[in-house]
Amino acid sequence: MRTLKDVEEGERVKVISVSGDRILKRRLMDMGILKGCEIEVLKAAPLGDPVELLVRGYRLTLRKKDAESVGVEPL
């Protein structure tokens, strides 16, 4: 399965699953990353990690390691 980690800068995707340990999962969900929501990857930090996302109209940043918990598919 493709994860948020592999999404190119500027690409928009749809979330199909959220996994990971309980705390991370809850945190992602609280921030609005849920099955069915759309995410745009805005850019990576200058050193390549973390990444900046556009989720429900606001900017969110995640480490790539954590972005791996979010399964995505193209829109």
Partner: protein
């Protein structure tokens, strides 16, 4: 009427600005019991007998972060009669997730719809009347920054606070709603009616705090319903609830928030194109760091600190008080206690204030403008494998000027464990008070070689990174790590009021918390250096401190400097590291010692070899910092136990490094001693602590580190 109002909202929703506007200057800052989360209280301007408690900024009331737990406990325990929920109108969906959770609790909620002016400037509209109808609670349009709508807000929340009953709002639909009612039926009688609905949702979410509140057979039965619902909806309970909340919010805001079709790039987008740009981000960060360091340590803050220390205290307050007391016929010992013990201690605290004020002003500007979050974003990659945050750069860099503001700067790090580890390791950097000690050793034993200073800086950085890894692997100690899932807020012009209040709060907190320990500890060292064991006033060379130094000196022989004078010098460095020089001066019978200790260079060479001198220097750079820095650490770590652990760790680490350098050095020179074996074992032990895998997934060092 005496009422308690809680203020809650997402981080960056303008909550602090609203709190400041509602309470004026009447606030008290403290910590929530048991955690290092800041607690602020104030009196409502419109009604002085109403207390407003500013709960920490949270996105949710999940049970996983200290901030969320603190807020949740406060609300569940019924400590608030009503709640003001600050909602950022520019980010309605995510903000309303928290609102739903508050309404589920049944506490009377008043929504303060903040930044609706920003929404309108964008050409968008929010219909707060419709929102209020759909939520079933008052929604008041406010501008915290321009202080608009505050009277209306205060009047509404006071009216709400007078109701006194909890009526939970039920938003969930269909199958989930049925399951929750079923659970409520089973919990009835075990949970008060007020919180029945809320606890039923928590059972559905598998909340870790539920078992404390329910007898296990009841919980077991309720969990059967949960499992059935999970099977039927195809997800776990926590995810079902989270998705259901977003569905509710989506339908709530439908038709309420109208977006204009203009689109295009926002101001924040344009700023970020430069500030987090692949090539410019790090140079810009370096420039900002330089400015923070320059303004707080070198120029403005530094000059004022020197002025307070030298002109105010050393040249005026101290001699004048001494003369004045002597003139009144006060006994010598009492004059000495007052002048060299108490006033010197107070002076040490006040001397740091100018630097701290400037630093806290700059930090507040960085935080309030939104740049601080970008620092974490840009620098995260470098420091996170060492148990530190991207924001740890600020404490470490400021710490090369003075560890006290450095340690206090760690306050800006949200994650508890990152913050504590940063506070514990910042003092490994050589601060300006350690420079004279470096000059002494390099001048006396190494012909003034600049390599000594350079190597001390490298070893400082090395110690921070190694300790970061070791400390973050100690399970259960120094707080929990929380995942790095961070909002990058819109940039905005900082509010002068917020910045000034934040600067004042933090500085005052330093004086109160760190000040006490500094004054007490300075007094104790004064007593130990001025008296012998029968409390006769004596010179430092025959004082209690000297005999303590003598007793301790065998412990330092393996480090190459078992001479009692070196040990006494080290102890006196606890007051301030530059005291090491003046103590050596006294012990070698000198009147005064220059900045680099040139007078005592020849004497130093008689009590230690160059190798031993280097070991002495390393120990003094890395061991327990001065009392002021220990006081600052106490403030950030939140308990004496953790402070003692931190200082213990620093001393043990310093001992291992100094021992290893001396003993391996001897071996390389061809004269190994017996202590080479313990030294090697300790190095292996430290290596184990560094490389071990504690078996907790969140704690592993990322594999790509290699």
């Amino acid at each position: 009427m005496k009422k308690n109002i809680a203020l809650i909202g997402n981080p960056n929703s303008g909550k602090t600005t609203l709190f400041n506007a509602l309470t004026g200057g009447s606030q008290r800052v403290g910590n929530w019991p048991g955690v290092t989360v800041e607690k602020k209280e104030g009196k409502l301007r419109q009604a002085r007998d109403v207390t407003v408690t500013d709960l920490p900024g949270v996105y949710s009331l999940s049970p996983y972060s200290p901030e969320e737990e603190v807020s949740r406990r406060f609300l569940v325990e019924g400590s608030a009669d009503a709640v003001i929920n600050v909602v950022d109108a520019t980010n309605l969906e995510r903000n309303l997730i928290l609102t739903l959770q508050l309404l589920e609790m049944g506490i009377p909620v008043t929504v303060a719809l903040n930044m609706s002016d920003v929404v309108e400037r964008r050409g968008d509209t929010v219909d707060e009347k419709k929102l209020s109808e759909r939520l079933g609670c008052p929604v008041i349009r406010v501008s915290a920054l321009k202080r608009e709508g505050l009277e209306n807000l205060a009047a509404t929340v006071l009216e709400q606070a007078s109701y006194g009953t909890r009526i939970p709002k039920k938003f969930f639909k269909c199958e989930l709603s049925k399951a929750i009612s079923e659970i409520s039926g089973m919990l009835e009688g075990h949970i008060g009616d007020d919180l029945l609905y809320w606890y039923s949702i928590k059972v559905m979410e598998h909340d870790p705090h539920v078992p404390e509140a329910l007898p296990s057979p009841v919980l077991e039965r309720a969990l059967e319903t949960v499992r059935r619902t999970e099977d039927s909806l195809g997800d776990d309970g926590e995810a079902i609830i989270a998705s259901a909340r977003y569905e509710v919010v989506d339908s709530l805001v439908r038709g309420i928030y109208q977006k204009s079709e203009k689109g295009g790039k926002s101001v924040t987008d344009r700023i970020d194109e430069v500030v987090t740009n692949r090539w410019l981000a790090i140079p810009i960060f370096a420039a900002v760091m330089f400015l923070v360091y320059y303004l707080s340590i070198t120029s403005v803050g530094g000059y004022m600190t020197d002025w307070v220390n030298e002109t105010v205290f050393e040249e005026n307050v101290l001699p004048r008080t001494a003369d004045w007391l002597a003139g009144m016929g006060v006994e010598d010992w009492l004059v000495s206690l007052i002048v060299n013990g108490i006033i010197t201690g107070v002076g040490a605290v006040l001397g740091f204030l100018p630097q701290l004020l400037v630093l806290f002003l700059l930090l507040a500007l960085l935080e309030d403008s939104g740049y601080m979050a970008r620092i974490a974003f840009v620098m995260d990659r470098i420091l996170r494998r060492f148990g530190l945050s991207g924001k740890s750069f600020i404490p470490i860099i400021v710490g090369t000027g003075c560890a006290v503001p450095g340690i206090m700067a760690s306050r800006t790090i949200e994650d508890e464990r990152d913050r504590k580890i940063t506070a514990m390791t910042t003092s490994f950097m050589p601060c300006s008070a350690k420079l004279p000690v470096i000059a002494l050793i390099s001048g006396a034993l190494f012909g003034g070689s600049a390599w000594i200073a350079v190597s001390v800086y490298f070893i400082g950085v090395f110690s921070i990174l190694v300790s970061g890894v070791i400390l973050k692997k100690i399970r259960g100690a120094f707080g929990k790590a929380s995942p790095f899932v961070m909002e990058l807020p819109d940039y905005h012009v900082p509010s002068a009021r917020n910045v000034v209040l934040s600067m004042g709060d933090r500085s005052w907190h330093f004086v109160k918390k760190a000040g006490t320990i500094i004054v007490l500890a300075s007094g104790l060292i004064w007593l130990l250096t001025s008296y012998d064991w029968s409390l006769n006033p004596v010179g430092a060379e025959s004082s209690m401190l000297a005999s303590i130094g003598n007793a301790l000196s065998p412990a330092f022989s393996p480090l190459g400097w078992g001479d009692w004078r070196a040990v006494v010098g080290t102890l006196s460095g606890l007051v301030a590291k530059e005291n090491i020089l003046s103590t050596f001066g006294i012990l070698f019978g000198m009147e005064a010692v220059a900045e680099d200790g040139a007078e005592i260079w020849t004497y130093m060479a008689t009590i230690m070899s160059p190798l031993a001198g280097f070991s002495f220097l390393l120990f003094n750079m890395l061991c327990a910092p001065c009392f002021a820095a220990i006081g600052a650490m106490r403030r950030e770590l939140g308990s004496w136990k953790e402070t003692a652990l931190a200082v213990g760790y620093q001393c043990a680490f310093a001992y291992v490094v100094a021992l290893a350098v001396y003993q391996f050095g001897l071996a390389i020179q061809g004269t190994p001693s017996f202590w080479l074996i313990p030294a090697a074992l300790l190095v292996i032990g430290t290596g184990y602590l560094f490389f071990r895998n504690p078996g907790e997934p969140e704690d592993e060092v990322p594999a790509e580190a290699a």
